[in-house]
Structure formats: C-alpha cells, structure tokens
Symmetry: C2
Subunit: 534 residues, 2 copies
C-alpha cells in the first residue's frame, strides 16, 4: 500500500487565518494530539527574533517525547547579499533544535524582482546556499517553492531552476506551493507530472483554496506522484485557507487506497477535527466533507427512505470509517417516515398510521415557521413529541420570576440577581428562591436549580455547556425574534434544547426549562436503566 | 468566447441543506434576483401532491415577467409499471406550466434493483417514455442522470444506455450527476470525455461536495466539453452541499476565459452571495473563495507588506472583479505596518515611528488575549486608537443602570425595564431615564438613547442591526467569558463594536456604548463632512 507523508501546518500557516490565534500551550496540546494520531510532520511555527512565542514553542518541544512525528521549524531563505551564517533568521532556525527545517524560497520571477527586489541569479544562489547551510546543522531540510505554479506559468525554466538549486543544496523534499491558490486542477496535473518526471527528489504539494481547488489539486498531485502532502486541520489558513487535511486524508485512504495515517487512526479524524475547532474557538463547519455534522445528515423524505434501506444509496463512504455518524433530520421537509424513525426509539411499537405522528409533524412545521430549529435541539423535539403523546411529566408550575441587573458606575462590576417562585406537584406551598449570577440567564438558571434541588437532587450533576443566541430577523437588531440554543451535559450525555421569542429572556427560559425537564425525566431514566419506572 | 449555461438549483437541491427552509416569498425573491443577474435556468422546486408550497411557487411564477432565465420544474421519471399519463407526479409537472422540466432517473443498477425495486429494462423504458411524455407538452426537457458516476463505475454500459434512452425520448440536455459526491477529479475527467465523445447531445454536470471535489469536478467537466453547470448559491445542499456557483462562475470566467453571466454581472456576485445568506438565515462562510469576507484578507506582517507593494503577489485575482475587497486585518499577528495602514485614514500625516502606534498594537494584543476580536469590530478598534491618541470624546459619565426582568406565570409575556443615570458634560444635574424593552439589552439600549436624545438628537437615526453573543469558554456554559458583537447602522454607514466580559450585560454595555459613541462622534463627522468641526 502506497504511503503518503502528511505534513501538518495548522500551527504555522493555519494561524494566518482570520480569527485564529494559538497560545504556546494551545500549540503544544495540538501538536501532541497530532503526534498521537500518527501525523508524519508537524510544523510548529517560525522561530525568529520578532516571534518570541514560537521560540518558546520550540524550546518546550525539545523536552517532549515524540511518538511518531517530526517537529518542524519554518523559515525563509537568507536575505539577499549576505552569507547564510550572517543571517539571524537562519541562525534562529538552527538554534530551535528542530529535527526538520522547512524553508521557503521564491520561484516566481515577479516576486524576486518586485517584492524581494534582487536578481534572479542571486535568488537561485540564496536557495542553494541556505539549504546547504541548514543541512550542515544536521537537520532534515525541506524546500517550499513559493508560488511555484504561478512561477511555472510565467517562466517554467526559472521555476525549475529554483527546484534544482534546492536539490543541489541537499533538500530532502521539494514542495510545490500554490501560494495564491488560484491554479486549476488540470494545469496542476500537467505541471506535477512534468516535475516528477524531470527531478529525482521526493516531491510535496502545498495548496491554498482561493479557487476552491486546494483538496482537488492535492489529490491530483499525489495521483501524479507527489509523496508528501501539506495542509491544515479543518483547512485553516490565510484568506480562504489551506488544503483541509480532514478531507485530504480520508480521500487518500478511502478513495485512492493509499496509507496516510497508521492503521485505525482514520476513525479518529472526526473527533480530531471537532477538538481542534474547540481549541481554536472556531465554529464548526457543519458542511465539512467527512467530519461535518451534516456530512451524513439526511433530510429529504425520499432520501431518508432510501438510505435506511440501502446506505450506499446516498452515502459515498460509511460514516463510521471516519468516526462520524448518520443523522436523520427533523424539518418541514420531513415526512412521516422521518418522524417515525425518530420516535421509534421512544415508542418501539408505534403504528406508522398513528394519528399522533401527523400531529407531531404539523407542530414541528408550525414552530419551524416561527423560527424554532430542532436539528440541534433533539431534546426539545422529544419533549414536544412526548407532550403530544400525553407522556411528558411537568415538574413544576411557574408562579413568577424576576431578574434585577445593575451597575453603579463605569469600571464597576455589574450584578445580576434572580428570584424564582414555583409550585411543585404534591405540595401546597410555593418554593421561592433567589440567586446571583454572571448575567440574567445564569442567575435565572441558578435560582431555578436551587428551587428544584431539594426535590430533585440529581439536578446538581447537570450543567450548561453551551449557550447560543441568534437574532433571526437581522434587520431589527435586538428587537427581532431571538433563537436560543442550550447544550446541557450530565456525565456522558449531552442534549440540546431551543427557545424562540422576541424577548431573549423568554426564549432562554423556554430552552432552560426544556433542558432541565429533559434532564430530570428522560435523560435520567436512560441513565439509570431499570430504576426508570419510579 | 465559449458560453457555459448556468442552472441554479438553490431553491430545490439547496433546500435539502440542514437548517435551510425557504418560504414561497423567499423563493420568488431569490429567483427574481438570479434572473436579474442573468442566470440561464432557475429550478424552483418539485411541484407535486405532497408539496403545496412548491405548487404555489410555480403558480405565482407564471405571472412573473422573466428577463433572462427559464424557470424550471423538477421531478422524477414515472413510477414502474404504469403509463406516463397515469402518473400524477408527471401530470403535476406539466400543469406547473414551467417552460423547462428537469427529471431525474436512475443510472446506477444498484439503485434500480435495491431502492426502486424494478428491472433494468423497465428503468430504461421509464426514462425514455417519461421524457417523451413531457416533451409532448411543449416544455424543454432536461434529464438528470442520478448517480451517473457511481453507475458508470459499476456498469458503464447500463449507465450509458440510460443516457441514450433519455436522448431517444428527446431530452435537450443530459446532466451527469455525482449524487453521492464521492467521485475523484481524474475519474470524472475520463468519464466526461468518454460521454462527450460518444453522444451527440449537450452534456451538463451536477456535483455534490462529499469529498470536497464539487467545484473541481464541475470545472474539469466543463473543460472536457460539458456545456451546462448545475449548482447552488453558496453551495447549499444536502449533506456537504452542491457545487458552489459563487466559486464555479468566477473560475469559469476568470480562470478559463469562458462566459457564464452577461458582461458586468460577475462584479455583483459577492453581494448576491451575502444577500442570499441573509434571506436563508445562514451564517456567512468567511473563508468562501472569491466572495468570503476573508477571501482577500491579509494578516501576516510580511504578506501585508508584499500585497500593498504588489497586489498580485498574494491575490490570485483582483477583488473588484467579483465585487469583493481587500482587507488588512488587525490582530496579534499584525506588525506596526498593519496598524499604520489602518490609522492612516484617520491620521494621514502620522509618522511610522510614532510611539503611540506601538502602544495601540500592544493594547490590541492584550485585549485579544482576553477574548476581544477587532476583525469584525473596526469601530471599537478605532475608538481604542483614538483614546490612546488622546482624541476621543467621552459623551457621558455613567452613574448607574439597573434592569428589571420579570414574568408572573407560564404563558405570560415577560417584561424588561431599564433605568439609566448619566452625567452629561457641561451639566450639573444627572439625566435619569427609564425604558421598557424586549429583553435586557434592548431595554438598556432604549434607556441609554432616551437619556442622550435631548443633547444628541442625531441618535434617533441610528439603529442596531445585529447583536451576536458568543460564549468563549464552551466548557463553562453561561458562566464563561462572553463576547458580544453589535452592528449599528445610520443611513448607509454600518459599524461593528465588541465587548467582552464574564457578565453578558457588561459585555453588551461595552459594545453598546462604543457603538453610540462611535456613531455620535466619528461616523457623524464623516457623514456631515465640513460640519465635522463643531
């Protein structure tokens, strides 16, 4: 089985993305996770004078016991007109102690003359002697030929000569970069074929996605003979991003039958993708190939039928192969068979002609029209269905709540205090409690829990893990309808609930009470198995 | 110049996407906008018995005076074992009155036997006589060969025979569909070349993105001779989506020199993309090729330098060609030259060695560390800089605010009341006002405006257009740090501000006061030109 080497640059090129910034700890956590997954190379950053953070990364990386990966430092060829050992930046690379050093050099004549402002000959010399200088330090040296495809189009002979200079310097791999990301796939095919045919050094590929081609160009380059792939987790990167390794790796393994990660690791890639998004504070791309939440989500009634009969009918690979899962979505596109499928795990003996299925479907459609979304709020969907089936337990009756927020002057911390008054079933007197919080919803959440704690001590184990607010009518600002989505966790279980209202507190209250009711009735029963009947 | 026909299926296949649901009005608004942009075909939906919404779309579409596009109805071949005129679904298609009808039929033997559960011969017959039946009604008929590439791999002869059946029936175009989205580009290249070579009917291409190849496969198919492209705006579609026409169209025009839209329309495509996201209530894909906010955003210090010198150095096309714009991002990756570039429009004569530039940069880095993000909050960035430059006007001094929220019982509408106490410069007594709102931030916003209205009547023209909340530490739920982003508009100007705090009200207060101060000082001056000096 043909092996393709995976070179991750999330920690260097990925950080060029809008909105992404990793701390030293973040970088080392991600690097160690990639190492454990069996990535071949992990580029940690550019350790130079103006970048103390990356210098610290390499300092701390020296003490890590790497299992599989080689930790790589990134930099550039020397400046024009000086000797390599007079170049501080090259010295920092050597001092980083990284076992692999990747340097980029220009391979597009325009860049040499207009940006670097030196001669083409000097550029060739800079590549050759910078690579040779780094080789002497004992590191494995890779050469990134910046703008290679644009350079090839402008002056193929000069671009090839840049590669040959790196080869003469002793580079272990020549990486063809589509730095501006604008190259079309059939052109990439022809150029890679030509380079692989001409040169006798391993070839790598490094693509950007400015024309939506990063993944395709990478795949084609490998099929034409490239043996190293550079990219980032989730495609983070400058402008439109780099080749997304969470797509590239499954394509190489599942479509081309090649080996990219050690056996068994492909099934971890969905979890890896989502974990890195969490560390990077990036909203997940729902539609990402292979690893997105929607990658195996079926909505159209006819497709749902077909995929339940014959999975390959609308799934190009098995979701399990990449650690993802099939989802059947409830929406106003849903027919009875979607609702039936969703409710069968609650009511295994339900008749597909049961009138209540239609009632649930109609209620879902009515509420989606108001702005509810059940796709991320399955707990609210289940409670809605249980209420129609006459099977929901109401745990309390609200007699009122009140939240007071205040701040006395600029610079002072504001306060939030909530009071809640509830009537519990089987009790004549009302519970009346109060709590402070970091904001109105947090105060309300705490007061509500406090009011229920005596009767339902299990509530202490549940906690909110995410709270999202979306204004639905963007032209109205804070006065538009608001959708609140809440995620709650108890031990291993997580559930989502939704509320919609013009008033954000009412929308939050709906999602909050659904989350607590679901947690105390449905989730609790599932957790305790045979104790469920009480 | 070679013309490629653009067939948009946002209103049909796009609606299969998780989270997308269009009303009849939405569909017609989008269709008319695509028509005005010069799209060739617009697929409006599947008008059948169980889909009254799409039947209404076609009813209302008949009264529209289409400028350029043909409005197309979508459906399937007849059911097995009956005559075409006994098939209700085909009848609904004819009755829709659409001038173009696109029907899909199976071209993968597995689907015929396992999903449709009929014979291969009957499938061939269904394709031929369904197309012929629709042709008799006078419509232009296109045939979507579902799962064509998977079918070709499984049994090329059968897949080709399905195309020939549609050709015999009189189909005007045979559309090769990669329905499961799993085909690799060089395979698509070979198959399309073979089909174009063998058959004498125009060929179309319809790709899904499950392997990240939809845009590449579409481009390659056109380069191999396909003359019609099917896709959706922003790539909406089932699972990972369809080919994104906002990438495909610029690629065809700018990379392959073909004609897709009428001259001049390509420069409208960024605006189209963003407008459709608004109508669909979809968060913009910041990283989308060509049209994304980050598509021409530069962050790394060295790249910023280069792109300001020589734009083609890090931009594959001119942003203006697609109606987008270059952005220089402020971040902790920024060097002095980014801050300098941002501040030059405020202080044209600033010296690049000015100590305050460094101070601004350090303050930005310090705050980004706390969770502030200035990339979407340029007004807050400008106020921060102005404060350091000693050039910010403080409009009031807070003496306290208080918000009271309450609800008396389930089903009752909650209320929100805010009081604000401010001291205005040049006045001894405090202004003390109160206002109700649809939520705490809305009430606070109203009370604050009321308190300022007498002194700054211009405030009446400004309004919040968006309010976004993000919990930064997802493991802490409502107790984590919260980032609030606010967008405010006055006439044509829109500006973004940011606030970060553990308390959502404090974070909102920061963003709110920044938005009002910026609006009353900076934005107002720019708007009024020579009146600015007062």
């Amino acid at each position: 089985m043909r092996k393709v080497y995976i070179y991750d640059t999330t920690l260097r090129d990925g950080c060029q993305a809008e909105g992404i910034s990793f701390s030293v700890d973040d970088k080392l956590r991600i690097a160690q996770r990639l190492d454990a997954m069996g990535f071949d190379y992990i580029e940690g950053g550019w350790p130079n004078e103006t970048n103390p953070r990356d210098r610290e990364v390499f300092e701390r990386a020296r003490d890590i016991d790497w299992q599989h990966a080689k930790f790589a430092a990134f930099g550039s060829t020397r400046r024009p007109g000086i000797a390599p050992d007079d170049d501080d930046q090259l010295r920092f690379l050597v001092e980083s102690g990284a076992p692999v050093i990747t340097i980029f050099g220009k391979s597009w004549d325009l860049h040499v003359t207009d940006v670097l402002r030196t001669s083409l000959d000097e550029n060739i010399q800079m590549i050759e002697d910078s690579v040779a200088f780094l080789k002497e330090s004992g590191a494995e040296v890779l050469f990134d030929a910046e703008h290679f495809f644009d350079g090839y189009r402008a002056d193929a002979e000069f671009a090839m000569e840049c590669l040959r200079a790196a080869q003469r310097g002793g580079a272990e791999c020549l990486v063809l970069c589509d730095t501006n990301g604008g190259s079309m796939p059939l052109f990439v095919r022809d150029v890679v074929a030509e380079v692989v045919d001409t040169l006798d050094v391993p070839i790598g590929i490094h693509c950007h996605n400015d024309a939506g081609m990063a993944v395709a160009n990478t795949q084609i380059a490998v099929e034409m003979g490239a043996s190293q792939v550079q990219g980032t987790i989730n495609g983070y990167g400058e402008r439109t991003g780099n080749a997304n390794l969470c797509t590239v790796i499954p394509n190489l393994e599942l479509k081309a039958g090649m080996r990219a990660l050690p056996e068994g690791m492909l099934a971890e890639i969905t979890e890896l993708s989502r974990w890195v998004d969490e560390v990077a504070l990036v909203d997940r791309d729902q539609r990402a190939p292979y690893v997105g939440d929607a990658a195996f989500a079926h909505k159209g009634g006819m497709h749902v039928n077909a995929v339940l009969k014959t999975p390959t009918s609308f799934e190009h690979v098995e979701p399990q192969a990449v650690g993802n899962e099939r989802r059947i979505l409830v929406s106003d596109y849903s027919g009875g068979s979607t609702i039936l499928h969703k409710l069968q795990h609650i009511y295994p003996d339900i008749d597909r002609k049961d009138e209540r299925l239609r009632e649930v479907l109609n209620e879902v459609k009515r509420r989606e029209h108001q702005g509810y979304q059940y796709e991320a709020a399955e707990a609210s969907f289940e409670l809605l269905a249980r209420r129609i089936f006459g099977d929901a337990e109401e745990l309390f009756e609200l007699q009122g709540f009140r939240v007071i927020l205040g701040k006395h002057r600029e610079g002072e911390m504001p306060f939030a205090e909530a009071t809640v008054q509830l009537k519990l079933p089987g009790s004549d007197s009302a519970v009346h409690t109060a709590a402070m919080g970091d904001g109105p919803v947090n105060a309300l959440d705490r007061a509500l829990r406090k009011a229920l704690q005596d009767k339902y001590p299990e509530i202490g184990r549940m906690h909110l893990v995410d709270y999202k607010v979306r204004v639905l009518d963007a032209t109205e600002g804070t006065s538009g309808a608001v959708r609140v989505l809440i995620q709650t966790r108890n031990n291993g279980q997580t559930w989502g609930t939704v509320g919609v209202h013009e008033n954000i507190i009412e929308a939050s209250w709906q999602a909050l009470t659904d989350s607590i009711i679901y947690g105390l009735t449905v989730a609790e029963q599932r957790d305790e198995g045979s104790d469920a009947g009480e």
